[in-house]
């Protein structure tokens, strides 16, 4: 807990959450490539090595599979490791440890033990980093029973959710949108852990519910401002936790607005939005006055060229257009 009411960068808030968690519980250790003296590729862990030393902030070899497996082994032996996978695309190398091992430990071994580890990883485009450094793969993890998936959209949430993720006895995939790292947000004093699984109503409105998470919230907010000019009043729900996601909050909002748009940066097809839409087309069917619209990336790998990536990415304009289609 800190006594600040300043504004704090998203990346810094994550660093603070790590530091505070490490102060509170010395079983918390950090593992990752270039996270120690180098402070991580996005500077998130800067200063932690100096503060906590080489026994608690460990530079890992370029071995992602062993990274998560090692974190799991340490978790099963009393530690609370937070592993950083430098880009979410590299999770492809660590899927066994995440999916076959960590996710199944508690259930498969009859509840004898749990796997209290966190895998932090940045996703998303916007840096023209190309098809292997820009993916949003959170839907994969949300499909795997035993994993918790979190994706914050601002500094306070990043702090509070990460604190909760580290305390949680289950394996958590903690997804950080890399374009947010340098952004500043209000950061009030006395941050607390935010319980996993609860969404946040980011904007109250009555005409349409826009469900989103992570970096995409800024497109939703910009669209809401624009739409307000046309007297369309958006309610924005920031999911924060993608698995388990806050069905009740979404349904409550839908019951008020009767219209649903879902927005994320990940590829639309088979993305997180599909589940939200499918669920609302079941339990929220009677509330729906219009088709459910989704906005996500089109079905292509992330292109490199700025000329392409700017069209590839979702945008406020796409949200505005979608909302208008179903509201007017």
């Amino acid at each position: 807990m800190r006594m600040n009411s300043e504004s704090v960068r998203f990346g810094q808030a994550i660093g603070r959450a790590l530091a505070d968690a490490m102060i509170e519980d010395d079983r918390v250790i950090l593992l990752g490539e270039d996270i120690a003296a180098a402070g991580g590729p996005f500077g998130v862990t800067r200063g932690l090595h100096a503060q906590f030393g080489s026994q608690r902030v460990l530079d890992f070899p370029i071995s992602e599979a062993a990274l998560v497996g090692t974190a799991l082994g340490a978790a099963l032996t009393g530690y609370k490791p937070v592993a950083e996978i430098m880009f979410m695309d590299f999770c492809t190398l660590a899927m066994d440890a995440l999916v076959n091992q960590s996710a199944k430990t508690h259930f498969m071994f009859g509840g004898q033990n749990s796997a209290p580890l966190v895998v932090r990883t940045p996703h998303g485009g916007g840096l023209n980093a190309g098809a292997q450094h820009s993916q949003c793969l959170e839907a994969w993890f949300a499909h795997i029973p035993g994993l918790i998936v979190v994706c914050p959209s601002n500094s306070e949430d990043a702090y509070g959710l990460l604190r909760a993720a580290i305390t949680d006895p289950n394996p958590v995939v903690f997804v950080e949108n890399k374009t947010l790292y340098a952004k500043k947000y209000a950061f009030s004093e006395s941050q607390q852990p935010i319980s996993l699984g609860s969404a946040r109503v980011a904007r109250v409105g009555k005409d349409v519910t826009v469900v989103t998470y992570g970096g995409a919230i800024h497109w939703a907010e910009a669209a809401a401002v624009e739409l307000a000019e046309d007297e369309i009043d958006c309610e924005i729900i920031d999911l924060r936790t993608l698995q388990p996601w806050d069905e009740a909050t979404v349904l409550t909002s839908l019951t008020k607005t009767h219209r649903l748009v879902i927005l994320h940066e990940a590829v639309e097809s088979f993305g997180i939005g599909a589940e939200i839409a499918a669920r609302m087309a079941d339990i929220g069917f009677d509330e729906l006055d219009a088709p459910i619209r989704r906005i996500g990336a089109p079905y292509t790998p992330v292109p490199y060229s700025p000329a392409l990536e700017s069209e590839y990415a979702p945008s406020a304009a796409k949200v505005t257009a979608s909302v208008k289609e179903i509201v007017l």
Binding site: I29, Q55, L58, F60, P61, S63, A65, A66, V68, G69, T70, A71, L72, G73, A74, A75, L76, T77, G78, Y79, P81, D96, A97, N100, Q101, T105, H106, F107, M108, F109, G110, G111, Q112, N113, S114, P116, P145, G146, I148, T167, D168, P169, N170
Partner: protein, 333 residues
Amino acid sequence: MSDETPTSVPPEPLTFSESELFIDCYRLMKRIRMVEERLSALFADGAIPGFIHLSIGQESVPVGVSRHLTNSDTIAITHRGHGQALAKGMDLTPFFAEMMGKQDGICKGRGGSMHIADSSIGMLGANGIVGGGLSIATGSALAHKLDGANHIAVAYFGDGALAEGIFHECLNLSALWSLPCLFVCENNGWGEFSKTDQQFRGNLKKLAKAFGVSYQFVDGIDVGAVTDASESIILAMRKKPHPYVLECKVERFHGHFEGDPQKYREESDLATLEERDPIIYLREKLIRAGIAPAILEDIESRLAQEIEQAVASALAGPNPEFTTAKSEVYAHE
């Protein structure tokens, strides 16, 4: 895969304290053997579902290694891990109940043979993924090292797992960080239906050395050799944390899984397996050393009784309920 070829030394007389030790080993190896033979029969009878992989012929390895482990030492075991689990101290009734998918199973019937675990004795879990336990043991060794309490982690793995890249990553990491991880290769010469020399061209000794990791070969026919080797290795690891590779040459007597008719195996190979049976080998050693056969038979009959009791009580137990299972996907604080 290894430089050395297994040797078949004839038994020699024992001192009294040696015979104490060896009777202990005999009891434990025989226990594993009889448990697995019982499993084989239960499987044939349909009382055990799924896949089971028996370690018959390989018992000397976990028995020799586990003698030197406490419950604070951790082990990650393989799909062929019954012996590894029992040698570490897993109780028979929850073991059998797990195989049968019963509520009283050590994992409440959710894991089965490929996924037994017993955290009360430092047994982190069996693995259905070849090589899946290597990094878990490595991470556990990291925890031990950070604890500074002289415990070690053991990663059991088969020769087939040598081809998985994770082995390389774990060797490197444990060498780099001097982690107290003992990599025990149960080299039975086979990966499923293929000989390992058709799958792996590396030399394990040289591979370990390439990372500066110490290596020792023992012939698993002799539980004494396994015990001796592990003793000095583990002692040294406790004194000063470092990784170690222990390769044990053993034979897989049964098929890859129960029900595998092993058509791919030479008649002559199968016919001569007995010569490589670590239990027969030890029995002869004990007899020659003057241990009365009656002592061994007594051990066997006690084991039989213990096993039958465990089987009966496991069989009598209830099936698990899905609603309970479903509520335990996530741990709660």
